[in-house]
């Protein structure tokens, strides 16, 4: 890497490139000095690299802005090109709806305005363009308010520039910027308050109290922070102002104009401001212009109180951008995260921000495992500070786990178990030993149990057992030791039945390498007629699973070799459910193998997703809904596999469509060549004849034929794939229809009458209310009966607050409703296309209002529609 590159890249860092200095002014001078010399030869390299640095290291934008300002004194033309490039990129980003790029380029423009490169009035024009587009969008008559997400995004971008250049705007163009502020205030008064309870980390139980309306949404909150900033004279600690020491020089530079930009076209107005179409468009717009952060408050405010309100926003911007742009560069990412250019400590804020991403709904920008890695790396980079902060976050989230969204709980369990597996499984489990005194459905107890289960999967039973030695009683929550439960094992003293003999016979056949066909004949001729279908199914399934029980690969091998034997016996949904039941009985001590086996069987099409769904909603599993993740894991796998199949098909279709276009081009070209050749007059034996001479004609003709054939063949495969997709989508509709019907039914059986429980809060307090009536019998007594263990009397007083007051049935309802919401949210884009059918068949007046509410909240569907549907 030549030196100017590394200087640009490393500017502002403590690094060898800049020697011992950590002074921004010196960095800028050094960098500028080298760039100035190189500019003559390397303009074409410097320009794109500088822009790339500014876009991908946005926390350094003030430094880059100042460097550009200094270059402007040397080479106006170079800087004009920078602005032209930026304008093109910015317009592209607006047109392609690239939110990160829009936001960051606006900050870069602001920084260039600060260093006198850009006229402030030009930037105000950009603001006004976006603001007017936003205002039109939310206008009910001219615009389309379902697209409010876009308007909100534009306004957020404008406000986001102010911490970087507010002071300069007020000094240089006070009236214009005031006009923008008034415009924003007007926008805020027309737009709808964004009450996105479907995406909040914690369940709101008192939803009728009007708390939601008083809570600020993201944009309102940002506006407040900017107001405070403005009243503080635009002073911000977290934004460096490296241009100030150079101001005297910078004013001499030419202040360029910025060409006009165009906001993208407005979406078509809607005839109705409610209804399915509105909901669908709103969903679409919110996918495109999604809010990149939902604030997660884990720690008491005292941990972050030395910051101004705006600092929090700026720190989040920095951290999220580092996470975004340095994804995949572990060392750079960790060192940027810990070395941001701010004068205060921010470990708590950093932890909250990372957890807010790990738990972000509907999904984080990257897979959760990325944030797991970042947290590990930060624990290593700041060994004295960060591990304790992480532990504090875990404790705080654990305290509130009963209110945490179901999807977030699952992610937290996966993260925490993985995190601990990287730190020798060390955790003060004794702090949580009290969960054993809670009923088995208490969310804290379930959390501990699931974390331990995942730890065992990542490691092994004895290891995890050892890791809880400071709270040995927790062993009760460890999963069973995981071995198989083979019906026909040849243990001493165990009765040998006819079926044992059949199983032994089958093992010999497999050992003797009989083919699947031979075994099918054996089953059909010898087993089925004499012993009946159920016995045949049990023997074959148990025995084959046992043969494949040694490892994942053994399982795959046996399914590939003998899957058709199973397929022959389990040919309809009822048999498939019996098959799943056998799998679950064989692996009753090993949830992971149960889930994997079912998943692979679905992969080999031995069982359908609908069969899995029916099995998950069978009574034995339904009872587990609030005390175990096992049925949910199987359900999640089945839906995600279905979804993966569909997205693979979509990708293939996209590729094929491109191939069709290029095949068409090739065919058309070959045809044109042929036509030209055919229409050409050639002299044959002195006579003019229509057509090229035969020797030349032949390859042209065959080429035309060949390309045409290729075109047809690509078209055929496209058609075939499209037909498959159409069928997959039908299957998807059936899947979601069945999923919701099942949810609706099991909930209907258990939810109290709608008149008694109109809100989750009411549902939650049913049991508590009953307990108050029943003062004498303390809830602890019930807990102990439940566990069948003697009560430890000495812990009475201090742990009284930990008693979980929600009853068995109520918790079942709360958990299940939580999963309804989580599934709806995760697959919202797949569910919306089938909404009419679902409305007609499931979400009708007969459905329980709490169920419908959970679905709507997950789909982020405006609730007004209930009456219209």
């Amino acid at each position: 890497m030549s030196s100017w590159r590394s200087l640009l890249l490393r500017i502002g860092d403590k690094c060898p490139e800049y020697g011992t200095s950590s002074d921004f002014k010196e960095h800028i001078e050094t960098c500028f000095g080298v760039l100035r010399r190189e500019l003559e030869h390397s303009t074409n390299d410097i320009l794109p690299f500088l822009l790339q640095c500014a876009e991908q290291l946005p926390h350094k934008i003030p430094l880059y802005g100042t460097v550009v300002g200094l270059l402007n004194l040397e080479n106006e033309d170079f800087v004009r090109k920078i602005l032209e490039n930026t304008q093109t990129n910015f317009q592209d980003a607006l047109d392609s709806e690239n939110c990160d790029r829009i936001r960051i380029l606006m900050r870069f423009l602001t920084a260039m305005m600060c260093s006198k490169v850009l006229q402030p009035a030009s930037l105000v024009v950009v603001f006004e363009t976006l603001l007017s587009s936003a205002a039109t969008t939310v206008d009910e008559e001219k615009g389309n308010p379902s697209w409010q997400a876009r308007g909100d995004f534009y306004v957020t971008c404008i406000l986001s520039c102010l911490p970087w250049g507010g002071l300069e705007f007020v000094e240089q163009v006070p009236e214009e910027i005031e006009r923008v502020m008034v415009g924003i205030e007007a926008y805020l008064s027309i737009r709808r308050h964004n009450s996105d309870t479907g995406l909040s980390f914690f369940e709101e139980y008192d939803d009728e109290s009007g708390k939601d309306a008083s809570e600020k949404d993201f944009l309102e909150d940002l506006w407040d922070r900017i107001q405070v900033l403005s009243s503080n004279g635009w002073k911000v600690d977290s934004v460096p102002r490296p241009h100030l020491p150079f101001e005297a020089q910078l004013v001499a530079g030419k202040s360029h104009e910025f060409g006009p930009i165009n906001a993208p076209d407005q979406p078509e107005p809607l005839s109705q401001l409610a209804g399915v179409l509105y909901g669908k468009q709103k969903h679409h717009a919110e996918l495109k212009y999604c809010q990149r952060i939902h604030r997660l408050n884990i720690f008491p405010a005292s941990k972050t109180e030395d910051m101004e309100p705006i600092d929090r926003f700026i720190m989040e911007e920095y951290l999220l951008d580092v996470l975004l742009f340095l994804n995949g560069c572990r060392k750079e990412c960790a060192s940027c995260m810990v070395g941001l250019p701010v004068p205060f400590r921010y470990e708590y804020l950093m932890a909250e921000t990372i957890f807010s991403q790990l738990l972000l709904l509907p999904q984080p920008p990257f897979k959760p495992i990325y944030y797991t890695l970042v947290i590990m790396d930060l624990c290593k980079a700041l060994p004295g500070a960060f591990p304790a902060v992480v532990a504090g976050a875990v404790r705080a989230l654990f305290e509130k786990i009963a209110d945490l969204d179901m999807e977030c709980r699952t992610r937290l369990i996966l993260w925490f178990s993985h995190h601990l597996s990287n730190f020798q499984f060390i955790w003060p489990w004794e702090e949580w030993a009290y969960v054993l005194d809670l009923p088995k459905w208490a969310p804290q107890r379930v959390f501990v149990q699931e974390v331990l289960e995942r730890e065992v999967r990542l490691s092994y039973w004895d290891k995890v057992k050892q890791s809880i030695e400071n709270a040995p009683a927790l062993e009760e929550l460890l999963p069973p030791k995981g071995g198989p439960n083979f019906k026909y094992s040849l243990e001493e003293g165990k009765e040998r039945t006819e079926q044992h003999a059949l199983s032994a016979e089958l093992i010999i056949k497999v050992k003797g390498r009989q083919t699947a066909r031979e075994i099918i004949s054996w089953v059909e001729e010898s087993v089925f007629p004499h012993h009946g279908l159920e016995a045949a199914l049990t023997v074959v399934v148990q025995t084959l699973i046992d043969i494949g029980s040694k490892s994942f690969t053994h399982l795959i091998t046996v399914l590939e070799r003998y899957g058709q034997v199973i397929a022959r016996i389990c040919h309809d949904q009822d048999k498939q459910i019996m098959l799943i039941a056998e799998v679950s009985s064989y692996w009753k001590n090993n949830a992971q193998m149960t889930a994997i086996t079912i998943d692979r069987m679905m992969g080999y099409r031995l069982i359908s997703n609908l069969a899995i769904l029916r099995w998950v909603f069978s009574p034995a599993n339904t009872e587990q809904f609030h005390i175990s993740d096992h049925p949910w894991e199987v359900l999640r796998n089945a839906i995600s596999k279905t979804y993966n199949r569909i997205s693979d098909l979509r990708k293939e279709i996209l590729t094929l469509k491109k191939s069709v276009v290029s095949a068409e081009d090739a065919a058309a070209k070959a045809k044109a060549e042929l036509d030209a050749a055919e229409s050409k007059l050639t002299l044959v034996d002195g006579e003019p004849v229509l057509g090229e001479n035969p020797a030349k004609m032949k390859p042209i003709k065959s080429n035309a034929e060949k390309t045409k054939e290729e075109e047809i063949s690509v078209r055929d495969s496209l058609e075939a794939k499209e037909a498959l997709l159409a069928r997959a989508l039908d299957e998807n509709e059936a899947l979601f229809l069945s999923l919701y019907k099942n949810f609706s039914n099991v909930l209907m059986e258990r939810l109290p009458d709608a008149s008694k429980a109109q809100t989750l809060g009411a549902l939650k307090s049913i049991q508590a209310d009953e307990m108050i009536v029943d003062l004498d019998e303390s809830s602890e007594m019930e807990v102990d009966n439940e566990n069948g263990r003697p009560k430890k009397s000495q812990s009475n007083g201090e742990k009284a607050s930990n008693v979980y007051k929600v009853g068995d049935k109520e918790q079942w309802c709360l958990s299940t409703l939580g999963y309804v919401k989580a599934f709806s949210r995760q697959y919202a884009s797949e569910i919306w296309p089938h909404i009419e059918k679902l409305d007609a068949e499931v979400f009708s007046e007969n459905a329980h209002p709490l169920f419908v509410k959970a679905v709507y909240s997950g789909l982020r569907r405006p609730v007004i529609e209930t009456s219209s549907s």
Partner: protein, 256 residues
């Protein structure tokens, strides 16, 4: 995304001498591969542990354990095959250098598993790295103080013996697919190429649910017609000459 800092470890620094193509083809294979190589594993680590960890990067198609030629037990490395390239990249980005079973594992792109590669190439039958082991990655070891961690032989665990059991020699069924599509043509792309191959296990199986019997019948007959694919093929009797001499090629020491 992060194009400013090219991560040098992103494409593997080593070159498998068993790869028959040119360097360019090798790089292309790595860039399109959906297979990762995992090294520095504990011998006790099971496929299920690997599954639990690596499925957090995406849906897993297959796991192939590296086995000691003589004992038929795991010898510290494995391959994981994904369905999608994106998931493969994420596994390399997010799992390499983290801990599995108390050991910092190394995850690299791999040009694609081929039959035979599951056998350790060291003279004694195990993984080469194991015999020449130096500390895995001093960077990582120093960061977290893992150096101090002595792996306690808590392990009443048993090594998985892949050599015995009703299925006979191991692993019998995957042989043909790699041999056919991996070795000779189109390195790297083969994971999704071979139509027959993915009809069997590609998650977007083209066929309808009820067709599963036809699927497997088809599978069976095709396999029987393929002479290379006899499940009976016993790795103990694999042709000699493809193992012991190439000890170094699996040594994935970083170029430093």
């Amino acid at each position: 995304m992060a194009s400013l800092f090219k991560d040098p470890s992103k494409l593997s620094a080593y070159r498998d001498r068993r790869f028959s193509g040119t360097q360019e083809e090798f790089e292309r294979a790595l860039q399109t591969s959906t297979t990762v190589y995992i090294g520095n594993m504990s011998f006790y680590t099971t496929e299920e542990q690997v599954y639990e960890l690596f499925s957090r990067a995406g849906e897993i198609k297959k796991i192939i354990m590296g086995l000691d030629k003589n004992t038929k037990t795991p010898c510290g490395f494995c391959f994981v095959l994904y369905y999608s390239r994106e998931d493969t990249e994420d596994a390399v980005k997010y799992i390499s250098g983290t801990i599995l079973d108390d050991r910092p594992i190394r995850v690299d792109f791999d040009w694609g598993f081929q039959e035979g590669r599951q056998w350790g190439r060291g003279r004694s039958g195990g993984q080469v790295r194991d015999e020449y082991r130096t500390d895995y990655d001093p960077d990582i070891l120093s960061l977290g103080g893992y150096g101090k961690l002595v792996q306690r032989e808590l392990e009443q665990r048993q090594l998985v013996d892949y050599g015995t059991g009703s299925l006979g020699s191991f692993p019998p069924v995957m042989t043909p697919y790699y041999g056919r599509h991996g070795g000779s043509h189109g390195h790297g792309g083969y994971h999704r190429h071979g139509r027959d191959y993915h009809r069997k296990r590609h998650r977007d199986d083209d066929r309808h649910t009820n067709d599963s019997s036809r699927r497997t019948l088809d599978h069976e007959s095709r396999r029987n017609s393929d002479p290379d694919s006899r499940p009976e093929k016993n790795p103990r009797f694999r042709e000699s000459g493809d193992s012991d001499e190439d000890e170094e090629e699996y040594d994935r020491k970083r170029r430093s």
